[in-house]
Amino acid sequence: MRVYLDNCRAARVEEEVVKAMIPYFTKSYGVPSSLHSLALEADEAIEKAKESIALPINASYENIIFTSGVTEANNLAVKGIVYANRSRGEHIVTTRIERPSVLDSCKALEKEGFEVDYLKVNKQGFIDINELERLIRNDTILVSIQHVNHVVGTIQAIKEIGKLVKEKNENIIFHVDATDAYLKVPIDVKKCNIDVLTIPSNLIHGPRGIAALFVNENVKIKPLLHGFVSLSETRPGHENVPAIVGFGRAAEIGFAVFDDAVNKVKRLSKKLMKDIEDTFKDIAFLVGPRKNRSPFNVNYCFKYVEGEALTLQLDMMGVYVSTGSACASRELKVNYVLLELGVRPEDAHGSISFCLSRYNNEEEMDYVVRCLKKAYKNLIKISMFKDKVRI
């Protein structure tokens, strides 16, 4: 059996999505900036995709622009917004547990003279809304807060946050990275006062190499790229039509199956969590909240063993997961999200991220826990801490 639980990094592309894309490689391969019929076909396909992507967030298709992926979308949102609004101020508020594309953009902006406040989070990964209120200043131009955390699944109270931001100063631009939230939790950009939203394609089973930003009409974003302007001045370049079509189809399917998919994944993650906790009792602990969590992201720390070794043991059994261990990172650093949630480094080394999708099933969850037990036993046999553990 092969069980894929790395869906917050890369996800399987729905077969119907691939089918929908093919004609735009081989038949309707024009781009909308030309005047002939193939261009018209591309234009219509892009418009339809935008409608499918905008519908689940209660937005209009006209407010959707495309980028090459989430990394570019978050860079464009954060940097583009502050560059375009610098005359009003140079202060940004974000959290310490954003995806690296937001965090590193903020760090780069600090070097350019912008001031950034990074909100702390509690042990469940929630920000303190009172701290946010205290941090917002007259010269704050951007508040950027992710909807769902990519490592531990914490769902921030985006509606409350949006309300507060606008009450404090309606000119502040509120950006939400919805990479791990789109079509996984309900989002309404209007009700939540969201000005700019990052929307993934691959994580909703669309193709890679494409993502979108929802950008409210009144929001100015300075382009980061320069070149031929086709449909969007904010993001020049010819459109990747097949990818856009696939993205649109994935959004359409994702929206149609939303309730069923979320309920299924809730059931699966509940089972996975219960079985891990029954099997590992005081050896493993959940990182992140029990309530207000996305069922798609489940993170556990397994004490006394190292996560890279656990990941590779699981890999040999056909279970594909990721770890927050330092040994598995390029920088040899423990995952920062775990540390910000107060996980001790020695425990964070044994962290495993289980990212589910609607393609997983119960049998797979049983298999994963069986393999986990076996893998853990293999490693604890080697460990100097084996006397601490009974499994």
Binding site: V305, E306, A309, A326, C327, R330, I382, S383, M384
Partner: protein, 132 residues
């Protein structure tokens, strides 16, 4: 991938050799720490300056386990002075290479071995000094 392991590393990770403690070991050392996610304990049995048995315990990644496993195999039967001279590069070579980011694992294994031997030598010195 961030890195790839050789088939030999995978083999030693999957079926590590010389795992566990040695009862009444003549030399024991622990290096690394759980804080950095790489920790190793090495046990040696030494007779007439010769390592007759070597075992290890590890809290570490696949590279850590594989290097410790290979190193214990290599030094078994060696004279202590000879074992002290084994370099991390020798172990890496025997493992069919390691990703550069993982070299520190083999360095840790060598450090643990040397620290065990150093401790044993000091113990020997004290013993002879007090008996002379």
């Amino acid at each position: 991938m961030v890195y790839r392991y050789s088939e030999i590393v995978k083999k030693y990770f999957k079926h590590p050799k010389n795992v566990g403690k040695i009862k009444n070991a003549d030399a024991i050392a622990t290096e690394g720490s759980v804080l950095c996610g790489d920790m190793m304990t090495m046990y040696l049995k030494i007779r007439n300056n010769k390592i007759v048995d070597a075992k290890f315990e590890s809290f570490g990644c696949a590279a850590n386990i594989a290097t410790a496993s290979m190193l214990t195999e290599v030094v078994k039967g060696m004279n202590v002075d000879e074992a002290e001279k084994v370099e991390w590069k020798d172990i890496v070579k025997k493992l069919g290479g390691l990703p550069p980011i993982k070299y520190h694992c083999s360095i840790l294994a060598i450090q643990t071995l040397r620290s065990a031997i150093r401790g044993w030598k000091e113990k020997q010195k004290k013993f002879y000094n007090s008996n002379s």
